[in-house]
Amino acid sequence: MANVLRFRRGFRFQWEPAQQCHVLLYPEGMVKLNESAGAILQEVDGERSVAELVAVLEQKFPEAGALANDVCEFLEHACNQHWLEVS
């Protein structure tokens, strides 16, 4: 939870108006992200720790309740995919 994550070099997160969603772009590929994945990755800035990231999201989406488990699970997946790395 104390880890600070950042996007791996060459991985770019951006909003695509034509697709109406966030995407992750990388060499010759693209992942379309669903709303929650987009919302989580939007907060990854290479400065906040995972715990801080969870706090920010909980504040942003109060109706969603405790988010730590879901967020950590997704971030673990993103690290396993080598989209994110510990900075």
């Binding site: 791996r8 060459g10 697709q19 010759e28 693209m30 992942v31 379309k32 080598h82």
Partner: protein
Amino acid sequence: MTISSGASTDKAGHSVGPPLWLLAELTYRCPLQCPYCSNPLDFAQTEKELTTDEWVQVLRQGREMGAAQLGFSGGEPLVRPDLEELIAEARSLGYYTNLITSGLGLTEAKVNAFAAAGLDHIQVSFQASDPELNNAIAGSRKAFEQKLKMARAVKEAGYPMVLNFVVHRHNIHQMKDIMSLCERLDADFVELATCQYYGWALENREGLMPSKAQLERAEAEVNEYRAQLEASGCPMKLIFVTPDYYEERPKACMNGWGSLFLTVAPDGTALPCHSARLLPIEFPNVRDTHLKSVWYDSPGFNHYRGDAWMPEPCRSCDEKDKDFGGCRCQAYLLTGNADNADPVCSKSSYHDRILAARKAADHATVGIADLTYRNAENSRLFFKS
């Protein structure tokens, strides 16, 4: 790549999404002569290349339509003096910009200048894992050393790096060496792609296609290497593209005709895939047609959308949504009619032609020196007029 949900509909009522992938073939000029080059056989005859301004228009129109991935390829894109300018324009439009190069003509200064212009990624193609074989296939004496140097420069400048090896019967035994070379060079992705047999590669098929035994050994080696990488936590990703000639079902070519990919050739011809030019179909030119109507309205791009065009056996096949009947270019080249099922499919009445090629691969004796190399002299032999 994932498929987008479409907003627009074609005549048959199928939804047509935007072209998410734009391939800009800036030029057919190239200092190398690979015998499997994907450029047209008669490339030496190509008309005038698009100007910088014309390319800028294409990039703007494509991005407006929703294209997100952009490849600069060729030929060798580095021979275009306006490459840096085009990269900067593309990046400012929001594209993810990929440069697909042989590494020839690249310098450290250019690697850095392109990074400053916003280039996201550089893919360097190799012909083999050792200088002798690499240079023999590329038809150039200094190619290998230059490629190694540039691969190092690419990593040093902080780019993610894809190394691409075209795999065939003369280098497939080097698979392990190739993968360990890539690991030493710190590649992020490695594409081990067996040839697609169109154009130059079809001319040279017998001298390029690996035998089944060669292929099986290579597959086992790749799987073993992949497991090792995973166990050690190394992020290098191996992508092995095996030849469809050893399959019983064709690949879903380009994810479906006109569904994701839009290629613009050096002279401005717009194509649903880079080899579609060989088909007896008329394709629009971006010089006189807006990319939007190229993609949504042109007869060329609508020709094989949906499935109303399919004859048997595809028409009544329950797998047609999966592979779209396979590759139109392969169907045309091997059966003489681009509407036919891709003969890779075991349901095709032309499947025996694939079986014959497999058999030939078991006994082929064509040496590296016997291949037809991609150069202007050989290209002129293929002029249609």
